[in-house]
């Protein structure tokens, strides 16, 4: 019975030129894209034509349980790729503190290391001023 509920990770939109100071800054999205923020996961706009253009930051620290039944829920045709979903699951596990093992976990650790190195070399200076 308890498995009939689902876990939801809400997505908060990023600030734009029109809407500033009331949404998540773009710099946070860059940090999340390089897995620098453990509780955030960046969701880019879909690269195909769809009725539901969803993008923003998925906040793992705001996750909640809900019962998947209409009209409280309105499903869309958009779904994460299985590889990306595995990354998201690893991020959730890490944030919760579940000590899991396996090939996926090892790949995730390697990916995180590579992204952190890339961030330090190429991106850090562009988004964080040198005096901070």
């Amino acid at each position: 019975m308890i498995w009939e509920v689902k876990l939801g990770i809400p997505i908060y939109s990023l600030e734009s030129e029109e809407k500033r100071y009331s949404k998540i800054p773009q710099a946070v999205a860059v940090l999340a894209n390089f897995l620098r923020v453990p509780q955030f996961f960046y969701c880019p706009p879909p690269n195909f034509v769809t009725r539901h253009v969803i993008s923003g930051i998925a906040r793992i620290d705001r996750m909640f349980l809900f019962y998947p039944q209409a009209p409280a829920i309105e499903p869309t045709e958009l779904c994460l790729n299985s590889e990306v979903l595995n990354i998201l699951l690893c991020i959730i596990e890490e944030w919760i503190g579940i000590g899991c093992e396996g090939k996926i976990r090892e790949d995730f650790e390697l990916l995180k290391k590579l992204l952190h190195e890339e961030f330090e070399e190429k991106v850090k200076d562009k988004i964080i001023p040198a005096d901070q």
């Binding site: 689902k6 880019p44 690269n47 195909f48 309105e74 958009l78 994460l80």
Partner: protein, 119 residues
């Protein structure tokens, strides 16, 4: 947004589903999402006894709110027990990534139950 990081590694970030039901893990849905309030709020109803009219306002919960005497007259016809009160919570239909808890097992539920704030 810089096209690097995860976006560079995963060229195909999303897939398009042909059927939206049943809900599968990783699917995006619009779900009624409550706002988080540190202090719960209730809907206080005052009866002015003017032709049955009453006025409602939202306020923070007080320590004596769940005592039987605190239950307001206009809400008596709702079937609440003596220690129950209607909570007020704002909610918004927000895009949500759906995950089946079976992926994460009992560890996840333990975490959610310990950290009540996150539910």
């Amino acid at each position: 947004m810089i096209q690097s990081g995860l976006l560079e590694i995963f060229e195909v970030f999303y897939e398009k589903l042909e059927k939206v039901w049943p809900i599968k893990s990783g699917q995006f849905c619009y779900v009624v999402t409550p706002y988080l309030n540190k202090i719960p709020q209730i809907l206080e109803v005052t009866n002015f006894k003017l032709g049955g009219k009453f006025e409602g306002r939202i306020r923070n919960v007080r320590s004596n709110d769940f005592l039987p005497d605190s239950f307001p007259e206009p809400l008596k016809h709702f079937k609440f027990s003596l220690t129950e009160r209607p909570l007020f919570m704002k909610a918004k239909k927000r895009p949500v990534i759906v995950i089946s808890p079976t992926y994460l097992g009992y560890d996840l539920l333990t975490f959610l139950l310990i950290n009540q704030e996150n539910i």
